[in-house]
């Protein structure tokens, strides 16, 4: 797992940082991103380059998203077992 916090970065830095981290993601690894909002414009971009995503926590001023390579079974298993430290805040 790799953690990236882009909450304090102005646009378009969150986008560039996330894409750059995705490109260097190794097999079996997944990326956890802390963002201040749901990055809607990013999702079509990452899926077009072969990555899946899942929003696991979303509340005012905070969004936690997981990214992993499509077809990477190890990473998919890790993502399914991922415990968000922030998910409870959504309840």
């Amino acid at each position: 797992m790799r953690l990236l916090d882009v909450r304090d970065l102005p646009a378009p830095e969150p986008l560039t940082q996330i894409l750059s981290n995705l490109q260097s993601l190794s097999a079996g690894e997944y990326l956890v991103v802390y963002h201040r909002q749901e990055p809607c414009a990013l999702f079509p971009k990452v899926s077009s380059i072969g990555f899946s995503h899942r929003v696991v926590a979303l509340r005012e001023g905070f969004c936690e998203i997981l990214f992993w390579r499509e077809g990477d079974l190890v990473a998919t298993r890790c993502v399914n077992g991922h415990q968000s430290m922030h998910a409870k805040d959504d309840e």
């Binding site: 102005p10 378009p12 909002q37 809607c40 999702f43 079509p44 971009k45 077009s48 380059i49």
Partner: protein, 426 residues
């Protein structure tokens, strides 16, 4: 947010918003140039002042906001405009046609132009598709709520504009008919309060809810404020309409709108003060300038009886050039480089995907500051601020007004060339 309808393919081509962004500053430059040649204009009712006002409001503010909506609604709402290429082209020609109609009405003073009052209807296809897009979105963002409110304001602003043009050009608009209640000055007051408080302010608020945290890393506007502010604006404008209609005055409207404008400006200034990265950013300077002029316009609005026609002009210039042009500039200097960068980045990703692993690596992308440099925006900021100071002082020393209009025109021309240079990088 529902993203089911959103994909890169469905996002509008960059040419759709950019034809608006590329044209608007050149059109706006005509306003101060025109006023430069009519130094004797001393009242808001003079045709040249009316036309200059519409050059800014329709040719600059509406032009840029329409371009921005083509881009923002799909991103914020998750749904795209239908027939976006055709609609983009038609609406652009429609806006230019409306400006020509206004020129014929105000500057040529031809009375037999019965087609002119219908010109605002040319914008209605855009409004219908805009409304349909807003109806389809499932987004719960408050920006969408603000856009919906602004749609109501825009419809009424344009319809009232058409009625006012009808009084100028249609002889059958008899003074004895019920339409006469919409003749000026009451009709004009309704026209501008719907423009300013019913359309411009809600859309500015809605865009600010998104743009301030996104580009300046400020805390978000309070949720209750985001949820209630657009509705409050709509209620206050409706209340103002009734007050004007039944009591021939706008005292309560004036008081409540002062409160709302003051609240928004102070809250926005406070959020900008709390931004997390306090680096020099000219866009923030324009933003503060705009909010500052909006606050300055408030006491001027209470002194109109004392200041007379010159005071009305001063109020108009403060709102138009001081608050609106500064605010649109603040947004445009972020949105234009961001959009170009975004499209360049998408294009580069496609090239990377198509290339083999051993292929040449693509050229590094320009940064947003490479596309429009801070130094050049600084020149525009200095020109714009100087122009506004000369304009304010021009109320006392009329000679300074010519200098003000010259400097403001230079600012618009510079802005037009900066947007064009940035677009050429695409």
């Amino acid at each position: 947010m529902n993203l089911s309808g959103l994909s890169l393919e469905q996002a509008p081509p960059i040419s759709v918003p950019f034809r608006y962004f590329l044209s608007a500053p050149w059109i706006a430059a005509l306003a101060p140039i025109l006023l430069l040649f009519y130094p004797e204009a001393q009242s808001r009712w003079e045709p040249v002042v009316l036309f200059a006002t519409h050059l800014i409001v329709v040719g600059y503010v509406l032009m840029i906001m329409t371009g921005a909506l083509f881009q923002m609604v799909p991103v914020v709402g998750g749904v795209s405009f239908r027939h976006v290429r055709l609609l983009g082209s038609f609406t652009f020609v429609a806006l230019l046609s409306i400006l020509v109609a206004l020129f014929l009405s105000f500057m040529k003073l031809e009375e037999n132009l019965s087609i002119v009052p219908w010109s605002p209807l040319l914008f209605f296809p855009f409004l219908i598709f805009f409304g349909e897009t807003l109806f389809r979105t499932k987004s719960s963002y408050e920006t969408i709520l603000a856009f919906r409110v602004s749609l109501v304001g825009l419809v009424l602003f344009l319809l009232l504009g058409g009625v006012l043009l009808a009084f100028r050009h249609l002889p059958q608009m008899e003074i004895s008919s019920w339409w006469a209640t919409l003749a000026r000055p009451r009709g004009t007051d309704l026209h501008w309060i719907w423009a300013l408080m019913g359309w411009v302010f809600p859309i500015v608020a809605g865009v600010s809810f998104q743009v301030l945290p996104m580009f300046f890393v400020t805390p978000p506007y309070p949720k209750l404020f985001r949820q209630s502010f657009p509705i409050l604006l709509l209620l206050v404008v409706f209340m103002g309409t009734l007050e004007l209609w039944f009591f021939q005055q706008m005292k309560l409207f004036h008081l409540l709108s002062t409160f709302l404008v003051g609240l928004f400006c102070l809250l926005s200034l406070n959020l900008l003060r709390q931004r997390k990265r306090k680096v020099r950013d000219l866009s923030v300077w324009f933003w503060r300038l705009s909010l500052g002029f909006a606050l300055i316009a408030l006491p001027i609005s209470y002194s109109l009886d004392w200041l007379g026609p010159k005071g009305e002009l001063l109020f108009g210039f403060t709102v138009l050039f001081g608050a609106l042009v500064s605010l649109v500039s603040a947004m445009i200097y972020k949105i234009v480089p961001f959009l170009i960068w975004f499209h360049l980045q998408s294009a580069q990703m496609q090239i990377q995907m198509a290339a083999t692993l051993n292929g040449p690596s693509p050229k590094p992308l320009p940064t947003m500051k490479d596309l429009i440099s801070d130094q050049k925006v600084m020149i525009h900021f200095v020109l714009h601020t100087t122009g506004m100071l000369l304009l304010l002082l021009g109320s006392a020393v009329p000679l300074l007004k010519s200098g003000a209009f010259f400097v403001l025109a230079c600012g618009f021309l510079l802005q037009g060339s900066l947007i064009y240079s940035a677009y050429r990088r695409f």
